[in-house]
Amino acid sequence: MSCVFITDFYMALTCIQLCQRCTSLLRSRSVGIITLQYSTDAQNWPAALWNSFIVPVLPSVLQRSPSPSQTRQRWNLGVRSYCESHAKVQPSQTKHGNTDELPGTDMVSYQNPLSHQLRDGGMLLKEWQTALDLDDAPGHSALEEISHEEAVRMDIPAALPPVSISLKDYVNESETLSKLVQLGVQLWKLEQRPNVGSMLLRLDFQTDVTPRLVFLKQLGVEDSRLGYLISHNPFILTESLENLQARVAYLRSKKFSAESVASMVSRAPYLLNFSVKRMDNRLGFYQQQLGLSAQKTRDVVVRLPRLLCGSLEPVKENLKICKLEMGFRENELQHIVTVIPKVLTANKRKLTQIFDYIHNTMNIPHDLIVKFPQVLNAKYLRIKERHLFLQYLDKAQYDPAKPNYICLDKLVSLPDEAFCTEVASATLKDFELFQKTM
């Protein structure tokens, strides 16, 4: 019989050995959206091996009970040999009688062509400088008996695939990943982002992750928020500590208190990845454009820290809309922004739709809107339904000067039950029946 069949088990063993010991090699490969190339089809293996295997092939499993240093040496040799001369699979020379056994039990041993001596078999590698000859008889059989001590000492680590689309293949073996899971990081979301999965695998928990976690804790970020922070911004683990400290020092120098810095960092995970210059630019912009004092600007930024993270273009457009389209004055705009900073990053279309309905259909003047800026933050459908319900009940009166005045704040922020009983003096059922007539 001419073909050499390779068992799953031994194939796995070789891969396992090299995969387990070559984490450094894995770091140089990207893990992520590359599909798994590991093939278990015995027929296709010889050809598929050279083409698909990224990780080089290691010395054979025949090296029973090798000493770690010896194996590492051999592995290093193996790496070099792979790089120099594309891996060659050398069949071991054994008795031809073995080929009469079941096909699945034969195996091929992988040697590197450099000279080193096999312990068993007594064959010097120098003698094996031939190319792969699949017609040769296979080497040691899987059914060969070994002593108990050797069996116990044989370390069979888990089968780590060289490439994968998911981090769940590595989470049991990787200390970093398992510790991140314990922190509460959502690995399933992070692995969908390009290159983030491989970056996390390459991190070392003691040298990379721990110092940054300690830094965040010292900053005042709560333990329960660390998971959220890393889930949204895994790159905080690759940012250099000097940069992080410099940015925190900058914020403190701008007279942000320690608690406010901690709260800002936990609510805007990307904050500390931005340079000091960028943060300075944004703080300056807000202070200048809104014309607020330093303390008020600080308050606005602490309320909505993502103002320092995103682009300034949408904010500029929103400010233009408020001034020109809606016609708010400077001081009115300042008051709105200090109460509801979200207006600066709101969706333009929705903002104009709500304002148009409130001002033109409900006939609410500007000064009343400025008194209750929460209406600009509410949902359009909610305002519309409640206003039409009140109109149907003849209670839609928003002028504080006249009797039976309905406060805009109550119109918008009360939950349905409370709104129906307090403001409209009707039942929830009536409100739902009315909603179905819209």
């Binding site: 069996a151 981090l167 769940k168 899971v181 690995l187 459908l381 739902e432 909603q435 179905k436 007539t437």
Partner: protein
């Protein structure tokens, strides 16, 4: 292995109706309902943490010559590969299908189906169930898209329009629609069978047909506003706005549509449609159960035709809803 999430999902598989508010695209509505249902499904407690066994070689203090024992200790270590933070929530997508769609301008009953019930949805879509609409119109205006939000083209007077003129126009339209119904039903008009079907009101178009109105009624008339109730087949909401426009033209004036509201889609009425604060999994489960029980009650009533239904008016009502019942009986028994 059925986890609690899978059991919740099976409870959610069914048909239910929601009330679509005006001004919202139907796709947004469907996505919102899907997100809410996913939240409810994934809120179920996840399956317990799995463990795997790892064998560790204990160091043998005494290496006996010749015989050494196999000393391996089994340790149960947690397997994190199936932790929800690593593999994600159990359900990341469910199939929520939509029945007859509603455009952005209209509102009303929108039938949705989850999971296996989408097959019944396709049957509903293909069967000839009628739908009820309430159209609000305003006389004296004409716009480019037949609704009051479009660009104004013409303004006309409407003082000469009276209620009976309007009703005459509606009767004429209903007549032409009835003729179309007879044509498209492809039934031979000179047979006894055709007469009986027509008397009971069970004529339906066979195969594809243009939009046909099987019923048209004036609900409310206060110039310039008026309200029509329409029962139709194979329609689109834009077609209904056009109907209002044509009504205006027939009256030597113009009219625009101010609102299209679907009050019934086959067996789903507006009474049990869920408003947007009730688009959550417990409310949807209850709506599905209620629909199924009402179907069972309807089937029980239907399979006992000898039962005395009471007065003549009641019998007439039964006759009116019987064609609708009979037509969708086929897919109803699935859900």
């Amino acid at each position: 292995m059925t986890t609690p999430s899978v059991r919740v999902f099976h409870k959610l598989e069914g048909l239910f109706s929601i009330y679509k508010p005006p001004g919202v695209h139907w796709k947004l509505v469907r996505d919102t309902v899907e997100t809410n249902l996913l939240k409810g499904i994934n809120a179920a407690p996840p399956p317990g943490p799995r463990q795997r066994v790892q064998f560790l070689a204990e160091p043998t203090s005494v290496m006996a010559e010749g015989s050494s024992e196999l000393t391996l200790s089994a340790a149960s270590v947690p397997a994190l590969a199936h932790h929800p933070l690593v593999s994600g929530p159990e359900f990341q997508h469910i199939g929520v299908g939509v029945g007859h769609r509603l455009d952005v301008f209209s509102s009303g009953v929108l039938v949705l189906g989850v999971g296996q019930a989408n097959k019944a949805l396709t049957d509903l879509y293909r069967s000839h169930v009628t739908r009820d609409y309430t159209l609000e119109g305003e006389l004296g205006m004409a716009t480019d898209n037949f609704s009051h939000t479009g660009r104004l083209i013409e303004r006309t007077t409407y003082d000469h329009i009276t209620r009976d003129k309007l009703e005459r126009v509606l009767a004429m339209m209903q007549g032409s629609n009835q003729k179309a119904l007879l044509t498209y039903s492809k039934v031979d008009m000179s047979t006894q069978e055709a007469y009986e079907l027509a008397v009971k009101g069970e004529l339906r178009p066979d195969g594809k047909s243009p939009p046909i109105m099987t019923g048209l009624r004036l609900l409310h008339f206060q110039p310039p506003h008026f309200t029509l109730e329409v029962q139709c087949l194979n329609e689109t909401q834009r077609y209904l706005c056009r109907i209002l426009h044509e009504v205006g033209l027939e009256l030597r004036s113009t009219a625009v549509c101010k609102g299209v509201r679907r009050t019934r889609d086959g067996p789903f009425t507006i009474q049990h449609a869920l408003t947007h604060q009730h688009w959550t999994s417990p409310d949807v489960i209850q709506a599905i159960r209620q629909y199924r029980s009402s179907r069972k009650a309807g089937k029980a009533k239907h399979t006992q035709p000898g039962k005395d239904t009471g007065t003549a008016s009641q019998r007439q009502e039964m006759a009116e809803e019987a064609p609708v019942n009979r037509v969708y009986f086929v897919f109803v028994k699935l859900f």
